[in-house]
């Protein structure tokens, strides 16, 4: 970075500066501190809200927040009931946690692009990315956790033998076993990869567009355009955030449902 002060930054340098994480270490072993801090902050918020709600649950005259949370819980519960055919106590709370946490992490994108990094630069932190899900590490951590759960439920419901038979004999018969293995393996691996990349791609594109809109203030006559465009994109981004959190949750439930289904004879 040639100049770190506000003036004298070219647009490319501005964007590249905002796209860099606050990290410790280099290359593969770098740890993105800002991702971890904001991820844990949003998770703490989810846990705090849940704990406070738990203490003050009332059946008569519920408060506003309780009604809102009831709507969310019922919504997730209906999705799980309609998709997940087995009996499992883990799936619905897992789906609710994923939905709330991913939604809150994505919602950090609605904070103005320069606000938190500017506040951090007053304290001496020069690089800050506030949205944890724009970091590939976060989305792939979530996707890999779901993948481990998929394998676990596959083995638990079908047994190790049944799981290996699924690899060997799906989708074609027993004379095409190598083809079966390749195709089933690709299908299994595509699940976490697509989960992680979908969330990352959407959030990264949203963040990039916010930065590009913020760059419009370079010329004074463009400031009204920046306000209008920023407002429009922020409103649309609210839909994208909710939708991506909902899709992540729904696909988790669908994949776990597929993993918990007993194998049927073709």
């Amino acid at each position: 970075m040639a100049q770190a002060n506000g003036e004298g930054l070219t647009p490319v340098q501005y964007i590249q500066h905002h796209l860099e994480n606050l990290h410790v270490g280099d290359g593969f072993w770098s740890v993105n501190i800002d991702t971890i801090v904001f991820g844990w902050l949003t998770f703490g918020l989810v846990m705090l809200g849940a704990w406070r709600m738990n203490k003050s649950l009332t059946a008569e005259a519920p408060s506003g927040i309780q009604s809102f949370l009831e709507v969310v819980v019922e919504f997730v519960d209906n999705q799980v009931k309609s998709i997940f055919t087995g009996r499992n106590a883990l799936v619905a709370p897992l789906a609710l946690t994923i939905f709330m946490w991913v939604f809150l992490m994505n919602a950090m994108d609605l904070v103005p692009v320069d606000l938190l990094p500017w506040l951090a630069s007053l304290v001496g932190i020069n690089y800050l990315k506030v949205v944890p899900t724009t970091d590939l590490s976060t989305t792939f951590a979530l996707a890999l956790s779901v993948f481990i759960l998929i394998i676990f439920y596959n083995i638990k419901v079908k047994g190790v033998g049944g799981y290996i038979k699924m690899f060997l004999f799906h989708p074609f018969g027993k004379y095409l076993i190598p083809v079966n293995i390749v195709m089933t393996a690709i299908e299994e691996v595509a699940k976490p990869v697509s989960l992680g990349l979908r969330l990352f791609g959407n959030m990264f594109a949203g963040e990039l567009l916010f930065m590009l809109i913020a760059l419009l203030t370079a010329a004074a006559y463009l400031i009204p355009a920046q306000i209008v465009l920023g407002l429009a994109w922020a409103i649309f981004h609210i839909l994208v955030i909710t939708l991506q959190a909902f899709i992540f949750m729904l696909l988790t439930v669908v994949y776990l449902g597929m993993a918990s289904a007993d194998m049927d004879e073709h």
Binding site: I15, Q16, L19, S194, L197, R198, F200, G201, N202, F204, A205, L208, L243, Q244, F246, I247, L250, L251
Partner: protein, 90 residues
């Protein structure tokens, strides 16, 4: 590094990114168009199913949007952290 080589790499990358983004935009627009046209058809057949169909439409739209987003992410990678320049020793 040879400046002619750098110019060649950057210009080829720029054209490639343009084609990649055009393809991603085209695929995404066609996909949304098909999904929404089927949604409107479904409403015309059964108007009382409108809320459920809208939920399904948004969900499948988000699923379809996954690959244009991944392609967009890769195009942005070429723009901001060009691996070919890195490999050529720039």
């Amino acid at each position: 590094m040879n400046p002619e080589l750098a110019v060649q790499i950057y210009s080829s990358t720029a054209i490639a990114v343009g084609i990649i983004l055009a393809a991603a935009g085209l695929g995404s627009a066609l996909g949304w168009g098909m999904i929404c046209s089927k949604y409107i058809e479904g409403i015309a057949r059964q108007p009382e199913m409108r809320p459920q169909l809208m939920g399904q439409m948004l969900f499948t739209g988000g699923l379809m949007e996954a690959f244009p987003m991944i392609v967009l992410g890769m195009a942005m990678w070429f723009v901001f952290a060009n691996p070919f320049i890195g490999a050529a020793g720039g």
